[in-house]
Amino acid sequence: MSIFAPASTPAQSIFDLSMFVLSVTAVIFIVVATLLVYAIVKFRATPENAGREPAQVYGSTQIELAWTITPVLIVLVLFAATARVIHAIQDAPQPPTAVEVTVIGHQFWWEYRYPALGVVTANELHIPVSEPSRPRPTFLQLLSADTDHSFWIPELAGKTDLIPNRINRLWMDPHRRGIFLGQCAQYCGTQHAKMLQRVSVDTPEDFDAWVRAQQQAAARDESAVAGRRVFETTACINCHTVRGTAANGRFGPDLTHLMSRATIASGAAENTPENLRLWLKDPDGIKPGSLMPAMKLSEVELDALVRYMQSLR
């Protein structure tokens, strides 16, 4: 998750700028610190100079001018470099080939909607590699359903906040495939710490296959019908959507293809049957303060519900 391992154009231009700023500030530090150390060593009180006041110097206009003008010039150079990168990143036009994703921050999970593709998912974002020959960057619209959040995948782009009543924008064009991690950067409430992010950068073929799979309605598995009944007769459906069923809640993550995700509870736990069961039984046990209530289900109902969740491929 280092900011010094950029894997997309905006992260790369920030990296280049940061290297420039770091070298300028390093030089300033070395010069000033050397002068300070020199002064401390050279002009220390010793038995030889004891009892004698040094020459009383009140100042020097030439020296003051020198150490005013030099920093002004440095600031101008740093600003020019900064403004260039601000413009390059913020004012980049969106190409027609771009993938559009709407990101909605919730306490304490991420909703991802691909309006042009008809895909809705949560917590694990899938985007394609953008090859120089076939650029296909991803443009994110950032919204919030409740409090402020911040979207931050250090290796792909700088962070941008998700603020209620405001539409923010962020883009990235990953150069290589892989899993990129991040997490909510703006304090958003009790479980700010476990609002984790995974971005899966896929090859264009894998991405298109993933989109096709996500576009399907929920799988119907007759062996899980008992669990489905539990799901649909409990308050689950007030908050969750399973496309193709009566469940169309928007408050919690879309579960249509839950099993296509590697984690649950916004990355707080791996997506295993044991964790699913723990999570359904007592969400606070995994993520204290999460907004999902414990539904007080019996052991039999829990087993059935886990089986239903596992059928949502």
Binding site: I3, V32, L36, P54, Y58, V75, I86, P154, Q186, C188
Partner: protein, 557 residues
């Protein structure tokens, strides 16, 4: 028997009972006593907020640690930040200002002694209200709860939907009330410095400390008022159905950010400028030279004050402002580095060619110079807006502002304590304990705050109560926590030094440091009336002129 009665009566006349002493302190309008009240109040809160920091660090020592719950952790960082800024840094700096400014400008008290007392007690009430939230903050919602909205209390976390109960109200009212106290003291400082200087002390002959406090007080008037306004607006939202910041009813979350940071950024300079003041008194005395470039130092200070009013939105580079706004706040923020740099160069110029004595105040001053230099440079990095898109809201920022506040402000305050304690108590602080305190605190400080930068560079966001293992943050956090514990030990040594030296310290006499400003011309501690006869000065260093009649400053100024 009659002789016994007589003895008792005379004892009562000589030695006030503890209740009389207490009454005397509570009702005092003497600027020195109010100054001490401010400082003692702040030290108490320093210990409390320090303990909160330790809770945070113990929790973060290991990944997935469960020393405290997320709810408690969030309360801890909220209370730690709020307390340190509003109930430690502000009052302690006002305390030093209260104590020192009249003495250094040759006045017998502040301009408005009763306003002075009133302002202090408002601040004290604010601190009490903030901590009462632990008992009363839950309101009708059950058990007590301290605020957990972060010290910026960003909207809409403070809206009733996200913050039920009364914890946010305690935060709001505590900050509002102490803000009124700050405004009162700021008015007082401005009036005192403008109107009550002794004969001969023109503005250009004021000690730099007075100049810097004048600037700081002016900034308080400009910066604290919008914060107070925002707090009132928030109360209107919560109780009168207003929608300033209530996003669910169409209010604006970013409006709060602007209000908060137009206070919050100048606040950093409000805190650091008095520390520049301490440096500008201490470095010359221990270098045995006058301050280098006095007029430039004054100009740089005023320049910082002006420019710092136009930099606030650099706290908001990530909120999606357009590229022009981001560029504007990038250049103003970088520009404020120029006058700040000039100050460092002038202190260097003061030391250059001097005869530097490494007494405890000077040790802390030297620590300040290095650490403030680094803090300034990491500030320049974050002024570069795109770089900040990576650094902001991460542990890098936490490291940066603790470098300013601990490495800068607290080191300067320690220097000030060791420098002026003899004047206040008549006793020297122990040099041995002081040196130990310095080296131990220096070690703890760097163990704590140096690695934090790297945690931020590795993508660790701030304000998380726990973190995932295997992200490269584990070892860093362990070192940071160990450093925090070492700092705590150093603070214990400092407090012990303050207490023990009060009774056991060497007698200080009038002028233990062979210094040059007016406060060293009177007995230690100074009499209630300060000056038996108001002095007349002819230069910036009146005591130098007295000690060196053959070569007085007044000849050159």
């Amino acid at each position: 028997m009659s002789s016994e009665v007589l003895a008792m009566q005379s004892a009562r006349i000589d030695e006030p009972t503890w209740i009389e002493t207490l009454h005397g302190w509570v009702t005092t309008v003497d600027h020195k006593r109010i100054g001490l009240l401010y400082i003692l109040f702040a030290l108490l809160f320093l210990v409390i907020a320090g303990v909160e920091a330790l809770v945070i660090r113990i929790q973060l020592m290991y990944p997935h640690n469960d020393f405290v719950s997320p709810q408690v952790f969030n309360q801890m960082f909220t209370m730690h930040g709020t307390t340190m800024i509003f109930f430690v840094a502000m009052p302690i700096l006002f305390g030093f200002g209260n104590y020192l400014v009249p003495l250094m400008i040759g006045a017998r008290d502040m301009a408005f002694p009763r306003l002075n007392a009133f302002s202090f007690w408002l601040s004290a009430l604010g601190g009490f209200l903030l901590y009462f939230s632990f008992l009363g903050g839950g309101g009708l919602y059950g058990a007590g709860a301290a605020p957990d909205v972060g010290w910026w209390a960003y909207a809409p976390l403070t809206a009733r939907a996200f913050s039920p109960g009364s914890s946010s109200d305690y935060w709001t009212i505590a900050v509002l009330v102490s803000g009124f106290g700050s405004i009162g003291t700021a008015v007082n400082l401005v009036a005192t410095i403008v109107c009550m200087r002794c004969p001969g002390m023109t503005l250009t002959r004021m000690p730099l400390l007075a100049w810097l406090y004048l600037t700081m007080a002016g900034m308080v008037l400009i910066a604290v008022t919008p914060l107070s306004a925002a707090q009132i607006m928030l109360l209107i939202d919560r109780y009168l159905g207003g929608h300033f910041f209530d996003t669910q009813a169409g209010g604006s979350a970013t409006l709060w950010m602007h209000f908060f940071w137009i206070f919050g950024h100048p606040e950093v300079y409000i805190l650091i400028i008095p520390c520049f003041a301490f440096m500008s008194e201490i470095i010359p005395v221990f270098s045995r030279k006058p301050i280098f470039g006095y007029p430039v130092m004054v100009a740089a200070t005023v320049c910082i004050a002006f420019v710092s009013m136009s930099v606030w939105a650099h706290h908001m580079f990530t909120i999606g402002m357009n590229s022009y706004a981001n560029s504007f706040f990038a250049i103003t923020t970088m520009a404020v580095g120029v006058p700040t740099g000039i100050k460092i160069f002038n202190w260097l110029g003061t030391m250059w060619g001097g005869r530097i004595q490494f007494r405890t105040p000077m040790l802390f001053a030297i620590g300040f110079l290095f650490q403030f230099l680094i803090a300034g440079l990491t500030g320049v990095m974050m002024a570069s807006a795109p770089f900040d898109w990576q650094l902001s809201l991460s542990y890098f920022v936490v490291a940066h502002f603790h470098y300013v506040i601990v490495g800068g402000i607290l080191f300067a305050l320690f220097a000030a304590f060791y420098y002026w304690y003899p004047k206040v108590t008549g006793r020297m602080l122990s040099e041995r304990l002081g040196t130990l305190h310095f080296w131990l605190f220096l070690l703890g400080f760097h163990l704590t705050f140096d690695p934090m930068h790297f945690a931020g560079l590795l993508g660790m966001p701030r304000r998380i109560y726990t973190y995932e293992p295997g992200r490269g943050w584990d070892a860093i956090n362990l070192i940071v926590s160990v450093g925090a514990l070492i700092q705590a030990v150093a603070i214990v040594i400092f407090v012990a030094n303050l207490i023990v030296s009060y009774w056991k310290g060497a007698r200080a006499g009038k002028d233990p440091w062979d210094a040059w400003t007016l406060e060293w011309s009177m007995s230690s501690p100074p009499p209630a009336y300060n000056f038996a006869s108001i002095p007349t000065v002819a230069s910036r260093r009146p005591l130098w002129d007295l000690k060196h009649p053959e070569d007085p400053d007044s000849r050159y100024e």
